[in-house]
């Protein structure tokens, strides 16, 4: 469901999880809300029609930052990803199909263009050189990704080129270099004289060597300094975070468990609450007590588990901000959960909330003793007043289904005004 966030300019990024070259097309497609295939086709076609596409693509590749989504994951998932305990993105054969089709189309168009405009002496050398450069840039992206995933926090200059140095990395670099080189050679052959080509090549190599000798040590020192600083920062931040969290939660709970060691019910209640807390911190990144219906229900569950010997499982489908319309449902749900926790006599309550654009439905179910709804005394205000009455006052309904011996289910329904949830 939509929430109103303060207006933030969206930045386009390169999508390094869905890429053939640099992820420019995928990133752009996401930014513009277009199908990826269209964007890819645009680049290919504009490449053929005068080479604009290559220029655009290369320009965007350099300018757009690649998306650092690894930092967003909750710590448990991030750690599992880093240590290779979760699968990476699997590329299926089906994904390659459109690309092959596009490539065939592009190649055909290139050939067609050639027959129309004639073979320029520059065309193939430039094409070869461009493919070579693209391959090397692709490898640099790959290496950048590896650096993000790297746990040691070390930067070594060779590593920043090769990444983890798999066969593919070497192959890419080698093929890229070879393509650029053969582009040059090709050009030389076309112009019919090897002499100038050799001179250009020698001059180029000498230039690169000179730069490497002049700047190499400086680059090396920079890399080392950066490495130390980054490693230190990352390590201390992570340690501080984990320490703070462990202190606030796990340590406190362990102390409480020791104090209550002779009371199994309390121990299991504490363990359960701690488990819920740690699990949500590690894996889901969802917080209790926030501004949404789901968060409010999770907070209710946590509170009920603390107050009564009971496990409350919350499952939500869809979510909505806590508007004035939703508040009464939350209060009624709290009452229903408390009622089940207190009177059902079983250790478990299931809460299920489903939110659509027009309706919020909450089901609170237990498998406890149950009761006869018709026979509840007039003095028992809990359910009648706080649940049924409250829902009715705010335009919703509450239904209590209970059979003695078979448990109770309370169903809360609140229609949502369309204008209330933009």
């Amino acid at each position: 469901m939509s929430t109103t966030a303060p207006l933030q300019p969206r930045r386009a990024t390169r999508d390094t999880t869905d890429q053939y070259l640099g992820g420019v097309a995928a990133g752009l497609a996401r930014h513009l809300g277009l199908p990826v295939l269209w964007v890819r086709l645009f680049f290919l076609l504009s490449t053929v029609l005068g080479g604009l596409g290559v220029g655009l693509y290369a320009g965007l590749w350099v300018m757009l930052p690649s998306e650092a989504r690894f930092t967003d994951e909750p710590p448990g998932l991030a750690s599992a990803t880093r240590t290779g305990r979760r699968p990476g993105r699997v590329r299926r054969m089906a994904d390659v199909g459109p690309l092959i089709a596009l490539f065939a189309l592009g190649a055909g168009l290139i050939l067609a263009a050639e027959t129309v405009f004639g073979r320029g002496a520059l065309f193939w050398p430039i094409a070869l050189g461009l493919v070579g450069v693209a391959l090397i840039w692709r490898q640099l992206d790959e290496a950048q990704r590896d650096r993000w995933l790297d746990t040691t926090g070390r930067i070594d200059p060779l590593g920043s080129l090769l990444g983890h140095g798999s066969g593919a990395a070497y192959l890419r670099l080698f093929a890229g270099g070879a393509l650029i080189l053969s582009g040059l050679v090709f050009y030389a052959l076309r112009s019919g004289d090897l002499g100038p080509a050799r001179e250009v090549l020698v001059a180029g190599v000498l230039g690169v060597l000179g730069l490497a000798i002049a700047l190499g040590p400086w680059v090396w020192r920079m890399a080392t300094d950066l490495t130390d600083e980054r490693a230190e920062r990352v390590r201390s931040q992570e340690r501080a975070d984990v320490a703070a969290h462990l202190h606030d939660s796990v340590l406190q709970t362990l102390a409480l468990i020791q104090k209550n060691a002779d009371d199994p019910a309390t121990v299991s209640r504490l363990a359960r609450a701690q488990e819920r807390d740690l699990r949500s911190w590690l894996f889901t990144g969802e917080s209790a007590g926030g501004e949404s219906l789901g968060a409010a229900l999770r907070a209710i569950a946590a509170q009920a588990e603390q107050d009564h010997v009971v496990a409350v499982d919350v499952v939500t489908v869809g979510d909505t901000p806590l508007t004035e319309l939703v508040e009464p449902v939350v209060h009624a749900a709290r009452e229903a959960v408390t009622n089940s926790a207190k009177h059902a006599g079983t250790g478990k309550v299931d809460v299920y909330a489903e939110t659509t654009a027009t309706l919020v439905e909450i089901f609170v179910k237990d498998r406890g003793v149950g009761f006869d709804p018709a026979a509840v005394g007039a003095d028992r205000h809990g359910l009648r007043g706080s649940v049924v009455g409250r829902m009715a006052r705010h335009g919703g309904t509450a239904e209590i289904r209970s059979t003695p011996g078979a448990g109770t289910e309370i169903v809360l329904r609140m229609p949502l005004d369309q204008e209330e949830t933009p």
Binding site: P87, V315, V317, Y352, E354
Partner: protein
């Protein structure tokens, strides 16, 4: 007796599960990472593999991928409740997903169910499925929309998400337990094969595709 392989990278957890399962199923092997798991499954051809989702070497999904088509069925078992992990594992081929806090008898029941070829949905998984297929109320009017949930399947998923046991679902909807199981299996199939509509969007929002 159902033959089971336990795959988990925590030895203590494996020992705990083995103790809980003792007498109800036959644990033929244990494995601690992807290569040993693949080897164990190939060697023992168990009925059911209890598969941890976070596993050194690429995760449980990698095990299912390497083992490939076989008579062995996989039941995912994890501490992680993250949607990526749950749906990713199901789409990778698992017949069900339970969290590690499940009680011994419930785990045995889930294993038996998976061994019989049925699907096992925890309330949370059912919630994810509903989320993924959201907007499926206007049911398949055209053949193309086959991988949406039918109204009946949605009903079953909702009841599971509300904490109903299979038996209670059957009674609530006036259908047999066998029919409930059929609905669950077809939801599982749609989840694994689906390539269109809301599920695809939901999955790609979460980087599952």
């Amino acid at each position: 007796m159902t033959r089971v392989v336990i795959v988990d990278d925590h030895a203590m957890f494996r020992a705990g599960v083995r103790a809980e399962l003792a007498g109800a199923v036959e644990v033929v092997a244990e494995a601690e990472d992807v290569p040993t798991a693949v080897a164990a499954v190939r060697e023992h051809q168990p009925d059911v593999v209890l598969l941890d989702v976070h596993l050194p070497g690429g995760g449980g999904v990698e095990v299912m991928r390497q083992v490939g088509a076989t008579g062995t069925r996989f039941l995912a078992l994890s501490v992680s409740d993250a949607a990526e992990d749950v749906i990713g594992t199901i789409r990778g081929g698992a017949r069900g997903y339970v969290t590690k806090t499940i009680t011994g008898p419930e785990l045995v029941a889930a294993i038996t169910r998976v061994a019989d070829g049925d699907a096992v949905f925890s309330p949370r998984l059912a919630g994810f499925v509903l989320d993924a297929f959201a907007g499926s109320i206007e049911i398949a009017a055209v053949d193309e929309d086959l991988d949406r949930l039918t109204e009946r399947e949605r009903e079953v998923m909702r009841l599971i998400a509300r904490g109903y046991a299979y038996k209670e679902v059957a009674r609530e909807l006036f259908i047999s337990i066998k029919t409930v199981e059929t609905h669950m299996s077809s939801v599982l199939r749609k989840l694994q094969l689906s390539s269109r509509h809301e599920l695809t969007r939901w999955a790609s929002d979460r980087r599952l595709l």
